[in-house]
């Protein structure tokens, strides 16, 4: 069995040649000897084809090699049979063996190889069956028992030499091994299975039912073959005999080809056109069917005139037709596997997809459904991605290969509009190839899944937005309340300044004027009093100007942000550096933008004076990409940014956010404070010089 690949190739070729030779001889040279043609079609051809097929796909597998050798040996055997028939009928050779002792030299040349080949076939069948499924000697004793069978090869030579009568030799050498060895092989397999089960080897033990059935069948066949050999072979007995004779070869061939696909018996991934698989099975079934039909015709030919027997043959062919059709159907279904129709698959997933708000559950469901529904090796489904959705991956079947899947099965993107919302990847089918229907199924499923993911995305977006809106609404309420509060306290402050400051000053002024009048009445000098009154009035004017400026700086309205900011900066008691982009000089922004920006700078500068203990401030105002950016940085004491909840800063933030801007404050103790703000730039007018 360990022969090199080359030897197997030569054997296979010679087997094929023998088969051709036999068919040619049988069909053209030995017209009257058509008895063995059904044998060729019913067992030799299926067996040889199956062997060739198995070996082609698994050239080193012991089972495949044995099957091929069996087919080859059968072919060689039939070749020798036809050659001997040719020699006796055409060239008058006498190949009949004598009652006792060795046959003549020329008879030995033909008969002995034929017997050896036949014995080899039976021994190989026993080997094949006994060593399933891997074809290797696995348990103690197997090798010894099976190897010892080869000793049978000595019999054709040894028995005549020992003087055993030729009739007995024939039984011992020709009938008994052929009848019993398949049964022996199957029985040994039963033993092997039992030992495997004891040893905990599930893969071998699983064959026990098959092995038991095979052993029963083949042992029964052996018994009946023996019965036939005692009662001669004619009539219906011949038919039964022929059927039983072909039984092991057809069964074994079918089983192995089938198992090679269905259960990967030969241990290799058979990726092959399903028509070839199907064709092989069909060939075996058809050969057997043809053989049976011919046998029936020939059997009839022994009783009826030739015309009637033709009729019987035709009838038999017609009668066998449904059987053949049924077998074909069976073969097809077994090869292609059970497959859900796209409709079934969609119905199965329809409701799951409709209510799919949880992609983490949907992805494995989808993968499993796809993998089982189409009979795939593996399937992997990736849902989500492309935006804010998290990615969920579900896989089913064998572990998918890492890295990108090569070839056209690289993946089936889930598309919704222009968005890719996921990916369906899958491996080859466990049996057969992809059909257009399979692709339809995947495509339909992908469409449905894309829709589902889209729905999930919409739901997620909606929920995010609702949350955002709720958060903003809450923020807005709080901010509005703060702004109103800030406005109220500002009003109170102004009211206090007007009443307690300016009004009191004016009252004092009135008093001083009264004093001046009194002095005048007494004829005194009022010049100094009036000067005092005038100075007081100036102070009131200043105070008033300041209050008005505090309410709203007029320069901001009249001349815009740049003038207002520089004016404010000039009144700072500490050095201020102002960087303002030149283009800003001529631009007027929307009123609320200018006011918010100015308020920010003003507040920031006030804070610097109040808290920062800074020696220098830098104000920077720039435009970039539709944003007005305002920055106020000082070199003061700073503060830990975590404590930015001060009402001043909150007020600033409220004010900036109210006009759709944002505010960032960076500060570290001892490293100064920087307040940066971005405001959406809304231009009011360009001022032409």
């Amino acid at each position: 069995m360990r022969g090199s690949g080359r030897a197997i190739q030569i054997a296979a070729c010679s087997g094929g040649l023998c088969l051709l030779w036999a068919v040619a001889t049988g069909a053209f040279l030995l017209r009257n000897n058509t008895v063995t043609l059904p044998w060729i079609l019913g067992s030799v051809l299926p067996c040889y084809c199956a062997g060739l097929f198995a070996w082609w796909h698994a050239p080193t597998h012991a089972v495949a090699r044995r099957l091929l050798l069996i087919g080859t040996a059968l072919s060689v055997s039939i070749g020798i049979r036809y050659t001997s028939a040719l020699l006796t009928t055409r060239y008058g050779w006498d190949l009949t063996a004598p009652e006792n002792g060795l046959p003549s030299l020329e008879a030995s040349c033909v008969v002995l190889p034929a017997e050896w080949v036949n014995l080899a076939v039976s021994i190989l069948v026993a080997h094949l069956l006994a060593l399933l499924p891997d074809g290797r000697f696995r348990f103690r004793g197997e090798r010894a028992v099976l190897r010892s069978l080869w000793a049978l090869l000595a019999l054709p030579f040894a028995l005549p030499l020992a003087g055993v009568p030729t009739r007995i030799v024939e039984y011992v050498v020709f009938y008994y091994p052929e009848a019993w060895l398949p049964g022996v092989g199957a029985t040994l397999l039963v033993v092997r299975c039992l030992r495997a089960r004891a040893a905990g080897r599930a893969d071998v033990a699983a064959l026990l039912p098959v092995a038991t059935a095979g052993a029963t069948l083949f042992l029964a066949r052996a018994a009946s073959r023996l019965f036939r050999s005692w009662h001669g072979e004619s009539g219906i007995l011949y038919l039964i005999g022929s059927l039983l004779g072909a039984l092991p070869y057809v069964l074994i061939s079918l089983s192995i080809v089938y198992a090679a696909f269905r259960y990967r018996l030969l241990g290799v991934d058979i990726v092959i056109r399903r028509s070839v698989v199907y064709g092989t099975l069909w060939l075996i079934i058809s050969g057997w069917y043809l053989g049976m039909a011919m046998t029936l015709g020939l059997t009839a030919g022994q009783y009826f005139p030739i015309g009637l027997s033709v009729l019987v043959a035709v009838t038999a062919t017609a009668l066998f037709q449904p059987v053949r059709a049924r077998l074909n159907q069976l073969a097809e279904r077994r090869v292609f596997g059970e497959r859900l129709s796209s409709f079934e698959l969609l119905v199965q997933f329809g409701s799951a997809l409709e209510h799919a708000y949880d992609l983490s559950r949907l992805a494995p469901q989808l993968a499993a459904g796809l993998q089982q529904g189409l009979g795939l090796r593996w399937a992997r489904v990736r849902l989500g991605g492309g935006g804010n959705l998290p990615v969920h991956i579900g896989a089913a079947g064998e572990p998918p290969p890492t890295g990108p899947v090569p070839g056209p099965r690289g993946g089936f993107p889930l598309r919704y509009g222009n968005d890719v919302l996921g990916l369906i990847e899958y491996g080859p089918k466990t049996e057969g190839r992809f059909t257009p229907e399979d692709h339809d199924v995947v495509e339909t499923l992908a469409r449905q899944a894309a829709l589902a993911v889209h729905n999930v995305r919409l739901a997620a977006e909606l929920s995010t937005r609702v949350h955002e809106v709720q958060r903003q609404a809450g923020e807005l309420d709080a901010s509005r309340a703060r702004i109103v509060h800030a406005q109220d306290s500002e009003r109170r402050r102004i009211e206090r300044r007007l009443h307690d400051g300016i009004q009191q000053d004016l009252v004092a002024l009135v008093a001083k004027l009264r004093l001046a009048r009194n002095r005048l009445g007494r004829g005194g000098d009022i010049d100094s009093v009036l000067t005092e009154v005038q100075d007081d009035a100036y102070r009131v004017i200043d105070e008033l100007r300041e209050v008005a400026h505090g309410i709203h700086p007029p320069v901001l309205t009249d001349q815009g942000l740049v003038a207002a900011v520089t004016s404010r900066a000039r009144r700072m008691p500490i050095p201020v550096t102002v960087h303002i982009e030149e283009s800003l000089d001529r631009v007027r922004f929307a009123l609320d933008i200018e006011e918010s920006a100015f308020y920010l700078v003003s507040e920031a500068l006030t804070n610097v004076l109040k808290h920062a203990d800074a020696t220098h401030v830098t104000i920077r105002i720039t435009r970039s990409g539709g944003w007005l950016e305002v920055e106020v940085a000082d070199d003061g004491v700073g503060f830990p940014t975590a404590t930015t909840g001060g009402s001043g800063l909150t007020g600033m933030r409220d004010r900036i956010e109210a006009v759709g801007g944002d505010l960032r404050i960076t500060s570290r103790a001892g490293r100064g404070t920087t307040i940066r703000s971005r405001l959406a730039e809304r231009v009011r007018e360009e001022i032409s010089d």
Partner: protein, 225 residues
């Protein structure tokens, strides 16, 4: 009274202020208020019709109460270079002064409104603008002097401390002699500082008077720290 009184038009929307100012000015005998109007349009009409020597105008007037006075002042200066304009403003903000002086300082004065109470100041300003010179309210100068702001590209950075002192006094409208007295220096030293300031500000080729005002403006715009 050797000279005839100066012919002046007053534009002021507030009745009491307008009439008060008129009475104060006429009381001096140096000024004849030929017309007192309430808004910029009337002012321009009066100027066309009466051709006064100088105008006193409020910065905020109807209809919108923003800077109609400045606009009117520019119009008057453009149409009648001989007529000086004294702008009276309630704003102590230097930006309004810059606005007024943006096309040149000749014949223009920027005074805070309360200067009405200091009649001498007002009269001096009227005389200065009528003579084509310029006056800036000391309050504005004070703000700029006290300022610590520094623009990134200040042209005054090249000036020495002493030159800046001189320029500041110049901005207050003082003559070289007055500056020399204030800084306790000789007039020729002041002259030297003034000329080097002009050179540094690129004003050497300008006529004397214009140079002075330009230097002041440069100073105002790019106030040093």
């Amino acid at each position: 009274m050797t000279e005839p009184p100066m012919r002046v038009v007053i534009a002021e929307d507030h009745y009491l202020v307008r009439e008060g100012t008129r009475r104060l000015l006429e009381d001096t005998g140096d000024v004849a208020v030929v017309s007192a109007v309430g808004d910029a349009a009337e002012l321009l009409d009066a100027v066309e019709e009466l051709r006064p020597e100088a105008v006193i105008a409020d910065i905020r007037m109807p209809p919108s109460h923003h800077t109609e006075g400045i606009t009117a002042a520019h119009a008057i200066r453009a149409g009648h270079p001989g007529i000086g304009v004294v702008m009276l403003s309630q704003h102590a903000d230097e930006n309004y002064a810059f606005d007024l002086f943006q096309r040149g300082t000749d014949g223009l004065a920027y005074l805070l409104k309360e200067r009405i109470g200091e009649l001498d100041e007002l009269l001096r300003a009227l005389r200065e603008v009528a003579a084509g010179r310029s006056v800036v309210d000391p309050r504005i100068v004070e703000v700029l002097m006290g300022s610590h702001t520094r623009a990134a590209d200040a042209p005054l950075a090249a000036l020495t401390r002493r030159e800046l002192d001189v320029l500041r006094h110049m901005a207050e409208g003082k003559t070289n002699r007055a500056i020399a007295q204030a800084l306790v220096l000789s007039e020729s030293t002041i002259e030297k500082h003034v000329n080097s300031t002009f050179a540094k500000l690129g004003l050497a080729e300008e006529p004397q008077l214009h140079r002075r005002v330009s230097a002041v403006l440069a100073y105002l715009r790019h106030a040093p720290r």
